[in-house]
């Protein structure tokens, strides 16, 4: 794979994975009311 391909793929993967982990961290450990019954 070319350098451009690697850059595109890793940027996209890093972005969505980081966002995914960040969001669930905020839901589980933040002061969100989502999990409160």
């Amino acid at each position: 794979m070319s350098l451009q391909g690697w850059i595109f793929m890793l940027s996209a993967w890093t972005f969505v994975l980081a966002l995914f982990l960040y969001c669930f961290y905020r839901i589980l450990f933040g002061d969100s009311t989502q999990l409160q019954k």
Partner: protein, 546 residues
């Protein structure tokens, strides 16, 4: 907005945001679109479960039946065409050698035309380095993938036992029908159990399974190595997906990809369907949030989870596996035939070449089934919620009414040729961007962008940058309007000008009676829903007055 409006339905949200008698009829789309998508998508979901059972019970065709082995594929990747590969094909070694030397025999031209839909002009323009790869792709498609596509057609009863088309009315095999009934009853059960007892439990169990299966399949694909050729591996598949192609050919001219409306149209279509935007399903789920719940965090986490499954996991399974065994050119041609072709026709032969392929194939189709069934339940919920909220029906009564509408309607897709595609064309492709356009105009321009922004930020842990406010107010509406306009131009006006619309129909499914019947059914369903909404609102007004 649905949560703030205290309603489960886009149509009630619309009337809350815009006090006008037209608003409820615009909102009918939020009921019509998910219900139509439910009607055909539930049948598609049943295919994935049926294929999962087919994989484990070994009922699909075998590549080995055609006499092709992994060694033949390796030879093909090196540019050698073995006798096994040529057996039962309409071309001979003489045609292949002539083609390799730059001469296209009439048999070869016929073969390429049939397999890849290439015109004589296109064949003549093929550069020497692409000739062999094109031939390889045609052989893979005709010899390996086509038998599996025929098996898919046999699964839905579109062809008879000899592989001949059965005509306008499909003869659906009992197995496919029973699997659909199973999916139908299971969905009704989940809906009947309610939002927290059914839908929430399904998601809590289904989503972790989906992620685990995806990781298992990803690991398997990435550890495949180079079983066919050193030049073909999982990384070549990722390269095919991720290496940017800056120019595309349109009407014989090279065009910068970001200036090409078709690229944007394809992106918007994928985005809407994968995130269930503009279908009314997300609004319905959102209505179960409490008033002070964090809409920003919920929306962001939903999108992030979906994109992780799609961009990271989805892109690392089917295409890399297909490229590893069939090469880039063949995979490009296979994927251009559509999702059904890639999923149902190219993946089973790929699994056959893998160790433990039967089990992996079963897991792959089961993964697709979980993804589909959770969407089916989401699509069914708006109609059930409408009957509960607006007509005061009990949960079981609302589910029974949905079942009475859904089961006969899906029989159109099960039995009639082209019916599923007609429904998908209007409800799955055209409907969501149209509905999204109406929603954003209502929210940002009629209800008021400032009020909307304040609602979004209410209870939000993450403060959304103001940039998104300007995006929603000034950038998204013209882009959506342009996309819709271009879609109408490409799918309706150009075929009308060319005259192809009179043979192929707007939906590309011809103009036969099955297509007309489906169109008439969709119009009647929309009118019926408008009447239901009118009656519901009338009743509500009378209740308020009394």
């Amino acid at each position: 907005m649905a949560a703030r409006a205290g309603t489960a339905l886009p149509l009630a949200c619309f009337t809350w945001m815009w006090c006008h008698r037209l608003s409820k009829y615009l909102g009918v789309l939020g009921l019509f679109l998910p219900t139509v998508i439910l009607i055909y998508y539930s049948y598609l979901a049943s295919w994935t479960l049926g294929y999962s059972i087919y994989m484990v019970t070994d009922q699909l065709p075998k590549v080995s039946d055609t006499g092709i082995t992994k060694e033949d594929l390796s030879a093909l990747a090196r540019g050698e065409v073995s006798d096994n590969v040529l057996a039962n094909l309409p071309i001979t070694r003489v045609d292949v050698e002539a083609f390799q030397q730059g001469t296209t025999t009439s048999k070869m031209a016929e073969f390429l035309k049939k397999a890849l839909n290439l015109s004589d002009e296109k064949i003549a323009q093929l550069p020497p380095e692409k000739r062999l790869k094109t031939l390889e792709a045609a052989i893979v498609k005709e010899k390996i993938v086509t038998p599996f596509d025929n098996a898919r057609k046999a699964y839905i009863g579109a062809v008879d036992a000899q592989g001949n088309p059965v005509g306008d009315v499909y003869r659906v095999p009992m197995f496919a029908y029973l699997v659909f009934l199973g999916v139908f009853l299971f969905t009704l059960y989940v809906l009947w159990r309610g939002v927290s007892g059914g839908i929430e439990v399904l998601s809590k169990v289904g989503m972790p399974i989906l992620f685990i299966l995806a990781v298992v399949l990803m690991v398997r694909v990435f550890t495949l190595g180079h079983p066919v050729s050193e030049a073909q591996g999982p990384l070549s598949g990722l390269a095919f997906l991720w290496e940017p192609k800056w120019y595309v050919e349109r009407d014989g001219q090279q065009r910068f990809v970001l200036f090409d409306p078709q690229t944007w149209l394809a992106g918007v279509g994928q985005l809407f369907f994968s995130l269930s935007l503009g279908m009314g399903a997300i609004q319905c789920y959102a209505s179960y949030l409490r008033k002070d719940d964090d809409v920003v965090l919920t929306g962001l986490s939903t999108s992030a989870a979906n994109e992780t499954a799609e961009v990271v996991m989805g892109s690392s399974i089917a295409i890399p596996a297909a490229v590893t065994f069939f090469g880039v050119t063949a995979t490009q041609i296979i994927s251009a035939q559509g999702t059904f072709y890639l999923g149902f026709a190219s993946m089973p032969p790929v699994f056959e070449f893998m160790p433990l392929g039967q089990i992996l194939g079963m897991l792959w189709f089961f993964l697709l089934f979980i993804a589909a069934i959770t969407s089916v339940v989401a699509l069914a919920q708006p109609f059930v919620a409408f009957l509960e909220d607006e007509y005061g029906f009990s949960r079981s009564r609302a589910v029974a009414v949905l079942a009475a509408l859904w089961l006969p309607s899906t029989h159109l897709c099960i039995l009639l040729s082209g019916s599923l595609d007609v429904m998908d064309f209007w409800a799955g492709t055209f409907g969501p961007p149209l509905f999204a356009f109406i929603e954003i105009i209502l929210m940002m321009w009629i209800f008021g962008g400032e009020k909307m922004w304040a609602e979004i930020k209410h209870g939000a842990q993450i403060n959304p940058p103001t940039f998104f406010y300007y995006c929603a107010k000034y950038i998204a509406p013209p882009i959506l309007a342009f996309m819709l306009g271009f879609w109408v131009w490409l799918n309706i006006l150009v075929p009308l000008i060319n005259g192809t619309i009179f043979q192929q129909g707007v939906e590309g499914q011809g103009t036969g009676w099955t297509v007309w019947l489906t169109r008439i059914y969709l119009i009647l369903l929309f009118i019926a829903m408008c009447v239901m909404v009118r009656i519901a609102f009338k009743r509500k007004r009378q209740e308020v007055a009394s």
